[in-house]
């Protein structure tokens, strides 16, 4: 029988930074001109995300997300858009893979400075049912980058 979550685990999950991004999402909205647009749903919980990306050469020069979801999915999307803006698709790919490691509970990923604020989501790995929430925006980004290549 799995034990209920401890208060410490819950605290680690809902850090101030996550609630801040949930309540004041960055880069939320739509782009006037996007090179790639993706919509994704998590049919399990009904959460949905729309992601629009504009490229400048090999760089993601701007992006916006829309939709609704839980604090984890919204904070993950908000932080992701901040972090990847201005980065090349290759750099983004490396971050995306590292973020997935973070979600799998890989301790070295939690110390990786290239993940920036996203490290605040490290507590999610202790909640397997919530990992999909954190990955929703990243799956949308992967699809948007793929749409372009």
């Amino acid at each position: 029988m799995p034990q209920p979550r401890s208060a410490a685990e819950i605290g680690a999950l809902y850090q101030e930074m996550i609630l801040d991004h949930y309540r004041r999402p960055r880069n939320k909205g739509t782009l006037e001109k996007a090179d790639a647009s993706v919509e994704m749903k998590n049919p399990l919980c009904g959460d949905e995300i729309g992601l629009q990306v504009a490229f400048d050469g090999d760089c993601v020069c701007d992006l916006r997300f829309s939709g609704r979801g839980c604090s984890i999915s919204q904070a993950s999307a908000s932080m992701m858009t901040q972090l990847v803006k201005g980065k090349t698709t290759e750099e983004i790919d490396a971050i995306r893979k590292q973020f997935r490691e973070l979600m799998l509970g890989n301790a070295s990923a939690a110390d990786d400075p290239q993940l920036g604020q996203l490290r605040a989501l490290s507590g999610v790995s202790r909640f397997p049912a919530r990992v999909k929430c954190a990955l929703l925006a990243w799956n949308a980004l992967e699809s948007a980058l793929g749409e372009r290549s």
Partner: protein, 428 residues
């Protein structure tokens, strides 16, 4: 129609009457999973119920003393397996008020029962231009099979809207009914809102205006109050064993004999045949015609033990217990600032309470409650058409059963307050 958020419940006479009901069942020790986990507050019985020891013992006993393939062997062990399976059907039919137990077809659960009616009766009787009616509160299992049937047969698929407090809008329903209506499918009790639907009134309306068959999704009624199929006034009633203390993977479809006899088989194979020739096959009698392959005899025995246990408590007491808990829970939750309850007042609902808390997403709420040992459901409850009408992507849902008591409500309230503490209060 947009549904109203309903967080205020006037202390009218109906609500006051709930004080006559007492949450006085003390059966938690009968449930090993709960007995072994004193800190666990299981409030997700609308999804699946916990199992009493007598059910687990019955399963073990079948496999240890009677296991063989029913209806197959000439040897006495197979005869015993057949007899166990047969007696289970009779016992469950008796529990659900079915005098003719051959009209109870064992299925995997409600979903399969509804698909059986859609696939068999529906494909044989619905044609282009006919109409099928469901309601906006139906579970996907009582929505999608009819939608697919309508598409296959070129029939019109019509959805009955709800009143602002989450009941079937009978006037709207009346407007949908006509001589082309072939099937009216509805839930006895809504799994997402807990609304208990007025089955007699619905039946009267449908009989008055149509020649349609009435199909009732009983997944949320059979476990929670007395149900007597023979006096329900519907043609088909489907239920799930695992929601009524029985094992997973067993349930049933009850139908009227004359309809079941005319219907073509749903699945074909062993046991459901009479004679198989190279060029044709004839069908076995009821209920076997609809039970192809080796039946889930052990789980039928387990479900029979579950209904025996429920009868031991008495279904009226089960209902009284849940009603008292619901009344208490509704009052306690309605008092929390920013908490919105969906659906009708406690007196008109079964033990299901759907709610949201300010801008806290139900998934976050469920995770925080999990931290307090409280299991609730968060999501769309397999009722996306309803969620769209509520204009929310998801709700949190607490549901009660015989083993719950006031300590579970205490833990639920404490957990919700904890979520308020973590998230702060941001009204929406």
């Amino acid at each position: 129609m947009k549904l109203r958020r309903n967080s205020e419940f006037p202390a009218d006479s109906k609500v006051r009457r709930d004080s006559e009901f007492a949450a006085d069942l003390k059966v938690r020790p009968d449930f090993p999973l709960l007995a072994n986990n004193p800190g666990l507050h299981y409030l997700d019985s609308a999804a699946t119920s916990q199992k009493p020891r007598v059910v687990l013992d019955a399963l073990r006993d079948f496999y240890e003393t009677a296991n063989a393939n029913p209806h197959r062997g000439a040897y006495s062990l197979s005869v015993r397996a057949t007899e166990c399976y047969h007696q289970s059907r009779i016992r469950i039919a008796q529990f659900l008020g079915v005098a003719d137990s051959d009209c109870l077809i064992f299925t995997r659960g409600t979903t399969e029962g509804l698909n059986l009616v859609a696939g068999s009766w529906g494909m044989a009787n619905v044609s282009s231009g006919d109409e099928i009616v469901v309601t906006a509160m139906d579970h996907h299992a009582n929505f999608v099979p009819w939608q697919v049937l309508a598409m296959r047969r070129g029939a019109k698929f019509r959805v009955c809207e709800l009143t602002p407090d989450g009941k079937i809008d009978l006037e709207f329903l009346s407007g949908l009914l006509n001589k082309r209506t072939k099937i009216v499918a509805f839930s006895h009790v809504s799994n997402a809102l807990g609304t208990i639907n007025p089955i007699a009134e619905i039946a009267r309306l449908v009989r008055e205006k149509t020649d349609a068959i009435l199909v009732c999704d009983g997944a949320q009624s059979a476990p929670h109050f007395p149900v007597s199929f023979d006096s329900l006034g519907v043609d088909f009633y489907a239920f799930s064993g695992h929601k009524m203390l029985g094992p997973m993977g067993i349930g049933g479809l009850i139908g009227k004999r004359e309809m079941l006899e005319e219907m073509p088989p749903y699945q074909t194979g062993g046991d459901m045949i009479e004679f198989v020739h190279d060029d044709r096959t004839t069908w076995n009698v009821l209920p076997h015609k609809f039970e192809a392959g080796t039946p889930n005899a052990a789980n039928a025995v387990g479900l029979a033990a579950a209904v025996e246990y429920l009868d031991g408590i008495g279904m009226d007491r089960v209902r009284a217990h849940e009603r008292a808990l619901m009344s208490e829970a509704q009052q306690r939750l309605a008092a929390i600032e920013g908490l919105h309850i969906y659906g009708p007042p406690a007196s008109e609902r079964s033990g299901v309470l759907s709610f949201t808390l300010g801008d806290v997403h139900p998934h976050d709420l469920a995770t925080i409650l999990d931290g307090e040992g409280v299991c609730i459901r968060a999501g769309h409850h397999c009722a996306q058409p309803l969620m769209r009408r509520l204009d929310v992507p998801a709700t949190a849902r607490a549901s009660f059963y015989v083993y719950n008591d006031e300590s579970d409500i205490e833990a639920l309230v404490a957990g919700i307050l904890k979520a308020r503490e973590i998230f702060g209060y941001a009204p929406v």
